[in-house]
Symmetry: C2
Subunit: 359 residues, 2 copies
Amino acid sequence: MSATRQRRVLGIVQNARAKPARFRDERITTAHGAGGKASQSLIEGLLLPVLANDSLAALGDAGAVSAAGVELALTSDSFVVTPLRFPGGSIGELAVNGTVNDLAVSGARPLALTLSLVLEEGLAAVELRAEIEAVARAAKAAGVQVVAGDTKVVSRGDADQMYVCTTGLGVLDSRARLSPSALTPGDRVLVSGPIGEHGMAVMLARGEYLLEADISSDTCSLWPVAEALIGAVGEQLRCMRDPTRGGVASALNELARASGVGVLVRERAVPISAPVAAASELLGLDPMYVANEGRLLAFVAPAAAADALAALRARPGCGLACEIGEVLAEPAGMVLVETAFGGRRVMDLLAGDPLPRIC
Amino acid sequence: MSATRQRRVLGIVQNARAKPARFRDERITTAHGAGGKASQSLIEGLLLPVLANDSLAALGDAGAVSAAGVELALTSDSFVVTPLRFPGGSIGELAVNGTVNDLAVSGARPLALTLSLVLEEGLAAVELRAEIEAVARAAKAAGVQVVAGDTKVVSRGDADQMYVCTTGLGVLDSRARLSPSALTPGDRVLVSGPIGEHGMAVMLARGEYLLEADISSDTCSLWPVAEALIGAVGEQLRCMRDPTRGGVASALNELARASGVGVLVRERAVPISAPVAAASELLGLDPMYVANEGRLLAFVAPAAAADALAALRARPGCGLACEIGEVLAEPAGMVLVETAFGGRRVMDLLAGDPLPRIC
């Protein structure tokens, strides 16, 4: 299609997409929790209009709260991953790191966590103890304390072993000026390491596929990485995101939409390990949509991209950090992929949920 | 039994009880979520030792966090009440008020909430919408905003309709000096209104008993009541508690234990509505153990008790506030009830869970 025609077609799509999604479904499906289109319609069509306030409408990974002049970030996540344990981690580590990372990518130093458990009657005490120990270990590694908690027990069959809700409180780093709506044409898109490892590790741990691969979850605290970036480029850092549910593709779509810009990703530049690439191909999954729990995406002003990349690569575990694309003026609200063959296609939000209960 | 003999026997009991409870169970039972002895053993025997830190060990209703010189309180609760709606409220209101009240009784003005949902696939959208609207309504009434949220969906049968986890952030009122370990012999025990209404309303709403009664949940925000008390008596206010799961009896036991004092309750002085008293008798439940969601217990230095009671009674909905007992030097860690007939008996934590999923 010609560039003009492409712009015109995408312009129409964009106008259709700029409106908040409506929520018209009669019943909740797993797709509403998958981070794709159905999640978007639930959030934009029901939750935001009913709970309307500025902090929530900003749709960051954490809400901003000002307390007696101190700028804080508050974020909450429920974890329902199955199985409870998988190569590289478990629900306890995930519950800490997932919440710590929502603070980190919001530019907030993690300060304290709360831990709220919903346990299924009959859960083995050793399983619970192992997960509380995992929480303690991950919290120590992330430099946060669990300061409050709650435990509820429901009857056998009213939950699947255990669900964990963690909430994180952080203090915003005054050097950072981050916002999901700050993406500017020309900005470079960086990723801190190979993608798709967490989701693929959990999928394979379920044993539903006759496939074994040396893939471990990347779950870890991203605050040291986020802080290194903030320290290196300060206000030139526009936004960070940890691409969890729905993967890199969904995170980029959310930000493109929030900033009213286009994002171009160069497929060939995206780091993917050989086992993840192979497993993705065998299972027919696009790793761009597979969850990560220890990677961040950073959007940086072009002049600062080299410094940001150097700061990333200097962090342990981020040696494979890459620039994977850039921000375009249009198509506004959309993500394009430049394929290995040089063509471009739209990388949209998914409609369904190919990987349920991944976090 | 003679007073000396009673002291001696209770002294032995007390020594046995002063040690942290051990957790020896092989599997989780509903009793571990009921707020009684099994909950205590889970908290003291597993959660606290593994997650050890000072803020958590203080066992307040909220954890204390200091951020750049501002003293904050953070608290989290999961709500699994069944049915979702009951006379006087629903899970949405409960999730807001329950968390706001944990801040309030910690002496913290509620500032912001997070809302994390675990939804069962198949949940009707109208049910979800009704509960989000209830959250919004209760948050507005309590003067807080929901600043962040999360939604997970699990397959049909892996949850019971919906579970809601709310976390609250508050700023500690500098006039208050509250602590669960501050109870001092001579302190007066006040309650802000009739007890047992929430738990009884939920039980009857289940329709398991062929019993109808005009009982509504007391769910509401307690911050205005807590603030009035703090304003009226300041540092003379030792501690507040909202007696939710396990009711007044469990809250008093926790505080007696935390402060190493005894608490005497005069049964005749405890306000109970006629329908709650009648339903309790018919169902064989002691209203002292039935959950409240809009009442607070306050422990006040004796010289300030009259002012505190006057401040309470001046608040809407607290016209029936009463002094119901006092703090004793011993039996340390125990609660005694002076019955209507003038005798005294121990009012211990319950071992089991007579009222599962009440909040």
